[in-house]
């Protein structure tokens, strides 16, 4: 365990940023977003960033390949961006768990090389959540926001930050920074305080009982889906702020100098998502809304040894313009029991 005074954080980040690309949670027009570290960036570690960290591995838009089309001939050019080593600082336990959810999708055979390369180049410095929000419910999914994991764990304890390496990669990273030893007791006190807050969170009693693999028949035809989805706008905001939503689209763009094939985030909440010339298997928002939650709470766990595809970060609770969210869904579907 290593420790620094809080006022030394700036010079620590500068030292990390001097060697590698570094991203930190920072103020951006009222939001907290992961931002490239530079002089003058207003680092803000007060709460979980508004947008999840999935963008580092599964970016909103990325190139797959380029085509040169000339008469009847086609050439394929692999023009993916080359990744450098990078550090993400201040990732919370929920987002760290989301990497595991995404890994199960992108690193299962056939491995997605774009995703894997970014994972391999990353080093994650996590931060224990000293002030979880009232919309937080990571505990529902067995996540401990006082033990966030990653390569290096950080704790904000009183007037100092304490760091602990979790992986070998994290060990080597901390060794480079020549920090002073200490902070063990402060971390224990910090954890105890977080656990006290956790117990008082309004959603602390939410459980996953009734959900999980094999529950399709119990939940799919529940009449409550109609009422739950009635006011859904199908805007896709929930999927875009969600750290585990991983559906994507593949599209071609004529650059004027060839065809760029790219992939971008997509949403099962959109009508286009399943629409074919042959028909539409999910004709109304009810089916599309149900798909999103059934996938997170039943289908994904069925395929991934019970792991849920929700990490309780609460972003959808804060961002949905219609105040629809997974907590409401879980509570409503369970009322029948």
């Amino acid at each position: 365990m290593y420790s620094i005074k809080k006022e030394a954080l700036g010079s620590l980040l500068a030292a990390i940023g001097a060697k590698r690309k570094l991203y930190v949670p920072a103020d951006n027009a009222g939001l907290i977003l992961f931002t490239p570290y530079a002089d003058g960036v207003s680092v803000n570690l007060s709460r979980n960033p508004d947008v999840s960290a999935k963008d580092f591995f599964f970016p909103q838009v990325e190139n797959i390949c380029r085509f040169k089309v000339c008469g009847k001939t086609v050439d394929v050019i692999d023009n993916r961006e080359k990744n450098e080593d990078f550090v993400v600082f201040g990732v919370r336990a929920c987002d760290v768990k989301s990497f595991e959810v995404l890994d199960n999708v992108f690193l299962s055979e056939p491995v997605d090389g774009y995703y894997k390369d970014r994972r391999d180049h990353s080093l994650i410095v996590t931060l224990a959540c000293s002030k979880p929000l009232e919309t937080c419910f990571c505990g529902t999914f067995g996540i401990d926001c006082a033990a966030p994991g990653g390569d290096v764990e950080a704790y904000a304890c009183g007037d100092s930050y304490a760091f602990r390496a979790i992986t070998e990669k994290g060990e080597a990273f901390l060794a480079e920074l020549s920090l002073e030893n200490g902070g063990d007791e402060a971390v224990e006190a910090c954890k105890a305080k977080i656990n006290e807050i956790k117990a008082k969170l309004p959603l602390s009693d939410l459980t996953t009982e009734g959900f999980g693999g094999g529950k399709t028949k119990d939940l799919f035809n529940n009449p409550k889906w109609a009422e739950l989805s009635a006011s859904c706008l199908g805007c896709g905001t929930c999927t875009f702020v969600c750290p585990t939503c991983q559906c994507y689209d593949i599209r071609d763009f004529d650059t004027g100098n060839g065809i760029q094939r790219y992939r971008c985030w997509d949403s099962c909440m959109y009508r286009d998502f399943t629409k074919m010339s042959a028909g539409q298997p999910r004709p109304s928002q009810l089916e599309r809304f149900r798909q999103r939650f059934m996938h997170k709470l039943v289908y994904y766990p069925e395929n991934n040894n019970g792991l849920f595809s929700c990490v309780g970060c609460g972003r959808c609770l804060r961002k949905c313009p219609q105040s629809l969210n997974i907590v409401k869904v879980m509570k409503a579907l369970r009322e029948d029991d």
Binding site: I64, C65, F67, V69, K72, T73, V74, D75, V76, D78, V105, F106, S108, P110, D112, G113, Y114, G213, T216, F220, Q246, C247, Y248, D249, I250, D252, D254, I259, R261, R263, D266, C268, F273, T274, K275, M276, S277, A278, G279, P281, R282, E287, Q291, M294, H295, V298, Y299, E302, N303
Partner: protein, 273 residues
Amino acid sequence: MEALIPQVVVCTDVRRDTPDVKTFRILTPDGKKPFVNIPGQCAMLSIPGVGEAMFSITSSPTNKEYMEFSIKKCGCLTEWLHMIEPGQQLTIRGPYGNGFPVDTALKGKDLLFIAGGIGLAPLRSVINYCRDNRADYGTIDIIYGSRSKDDLVDYKEIIDEWMNTPGVNVHLTIDREQEVWDGHVGFVPNYVKELNPDIKKTVLMCGPPIMIKFTLAGLKELGFEDTQIYTTMELRMKCGIGKCGRCNIGAKYVCKDGPVFRFDQLDELPNEY
């Protein structure tokens, strides 16, 4: 090799089968089959700049020279495909999906193929595979229907080859009377009931959803079980490798867990197809 990056292939021949179906012969630029597949598997074909979509591989794996795709003109990419001429390069990636269990569950069985319209495309691969490995299968019955005689895909192969293969019985039907037609007239589901097939047969069925629905009901009336009936599904797909989320039904992904399912397996899934 990155799964999403396709390889270049050449369309060496385009055959017009019906007013809205063409069959495309596909080879690598150096004249080889792009990859090895099993009957019922699919591949992603693309015209860069237009789009990429999943098509069932129509030719049999026993054809070692080239790969064929029978494609109906019904959307943006297929309209473009119908405009290409021999020599045009395209891209392909695959093969994707599970295919029909030709070397396990279907081996030694009497097979009943039921197809409607372009639904013959994926079954043609299996039919020709079984014809080329004739000793491995029992009798083969094929019930194939379309709107008119002109809409029967690759009528020539059916007449010249299938009908002349020992142990293969072909039953064709069209929806409405036609002057040039002296065969059966009527919809596939009714024709199946009329023919009253032996309920020991294993059924492989593909066609429009309405045909599937009524034929399935008819087969069950005759005494067939869900576990004897296979079909192949079509849903919108982008990645083909179970990641993009589009073809997800229940805990299954049609692109990798399908597209071939038995009806007892489909019964376990939510009805979203």
